[in-house]
């Protein structure tokens, strides 16, 4: 006990924690308030809001899985080179040449779990009517986050550069080819012509911009890698900040008025 006290009495400890052990209302409030991560929470919440059978904790699980994906993803980047020459072998080596080779497994299964938890979070929010005023805007932010989650998973699907990856992305990105007007096999595209020269072709349509080529190839791999590791996580991170902030501003976890 004296040992514990001698630690919590030091200047270092006190510089970190500005409150005593949170077993009384004042320190319970301070514990949340004086911590930059915990102050995402309010000091008090509705009793129904902490009940697991009400919230299913799905929003929290989704955020936790995003953190898992970020950490395992950064670690995987140390061993992965996004080129046609190396990508497949690097992924294979991850399994065989790295101790505790389950980092990719954690990343992949975590991604699948995140897609599911986002859907279930949305289901819970719908069934409790939590998109109703004043939370309309936050529901919309949530829908965009759902789309970004799917895009994150989809861009990551290509990176192992195996048969599964290339064909899933070929099938997926070929849908962009059929986009009306701006896809070269979409309705209306053939009307966009300068004299005899068609403007929307396999080398100028929206799919070309997406995969950077006529077919899924080396340029696509690099492009999806950058989208997967940098662009989409940044966008999702910003929107998540907005999402959490709005939860607080719109009155916390929903409950009867």
């Amino acid at each position: 006990m004296t040992l514990l006290k001698s630690i919590t009495e030091t200047q270092i400890w006190k510089s970190l924690f500005r409150h005593k052990y949170p077993d009384n209302p004042r320190d319970q409030a301070l514990a949340v308030l004086s911590n930059v991560f915990l102050h995402l929470h309010p000091i008090k919440v509705k009793k129904s809001g902490v009940r697991m059978s009400f919230t299913w904790c799905m929003g929290g699980i989704t955020f936790f899985l995003f953190l898992v994906e970020t950490i395992t993803g950064v670690l995987l980047m140390f061993y992965y080179r996004p080129t046609v020459e190396f990508a497949f072998n690097d992924i294979k080596a991850l399994r065989e040449h790295v101790p505790l080779g389950i980092m990719r497994e954690l990343h992949r299964w975590g991604a699948h779990a995140m897609v599911i938890s986002v859907w279930l979070h949305m289901l819970r929010v719908f069934l409790t009517g939590s998109y109703k005023p004043p939370r309309e805007f936050n529901w919309n932010v949530g829908v965009i986050l759902l789309v970004l989650t799917l895009l994150l998973s989809f861009t990551g699907y290509l990176l192992p550069w195996d048969q599964l990856a290339i064909w899933a992305v070929t099938v997926g990105s070929n849908m962009a080819r059929a986009h009306p007007i701006i896809g070269h096999e979409g309705p209306g595209a053939s009307f966009l012509q300068l004299g005899d020269v068609p403007l929307v072709t396999a080398a100028s349509d929206v799919r070309f911009a997406l995969i950077s080529g006529r077919v899924v190839g080396a340029a696509t791999l690099l492009r999806f890698y950058v989208l997967h590791c940098v662009a989409i996580p940044l966008g999702a991170g910003v929107l998540m900040a907005v999402h959490f902030w709005r939860v607080r501003k719109d009155g916390g976890i929903s409950g009867p008025m």
Binding site: T170, N174, A203, F208, G213, A218, A219
Partner: protein, 178 residues
Amino acid sequence: MADATTKNPTSAPQDTRRSFLEGVAVGWTIFSAASAAGLLATARFLFPNDLFEPPTKFKIGPPSRFPGSKDGTVNEDFKSINGIWIVSTADEIYVLSTVCTHLGCTPNWLSAERKFKCPCHGSGFYSSGINFEGPAPRPLEKYKVSLAPDGQIEVDKSTKYQFELGQWEDPNSRLKLA
């Protein structure tokens, strides 16, 4: 008219206000136009000028390499590298694209059933390229084929012929054998 405006005491501030509003309008228009141009230029950045893909024009050997038959013989030698099938019938040779017209998978030639079957969504094509089952909306595409001076067949993938546009009538879409 000029006299009237100078005599009107309220006209001077109105003119100032108008010119101010005009200035604001011009300013915002220029700003929006510049932003739009910048955005377009950024979007253009996504479209590369150079591609590192196989050549679109290549030779595949003399016609004798592709013995024909009445129903049409499908040659798969160039499928993996160039993405084409060479089909030879009794009197002509034509080149089919290996890209399914539904979602761009590569169909497989099932010689026993004499059809191209796409594994993605089950589209089926005859050896003539005509679609007959599954979701594919139109026949496979044909590429330009010609006889080079050295006696080899030359395929040009940059020119394609689509059946539904009546382009299969084009003499360049097939190689007539004498």
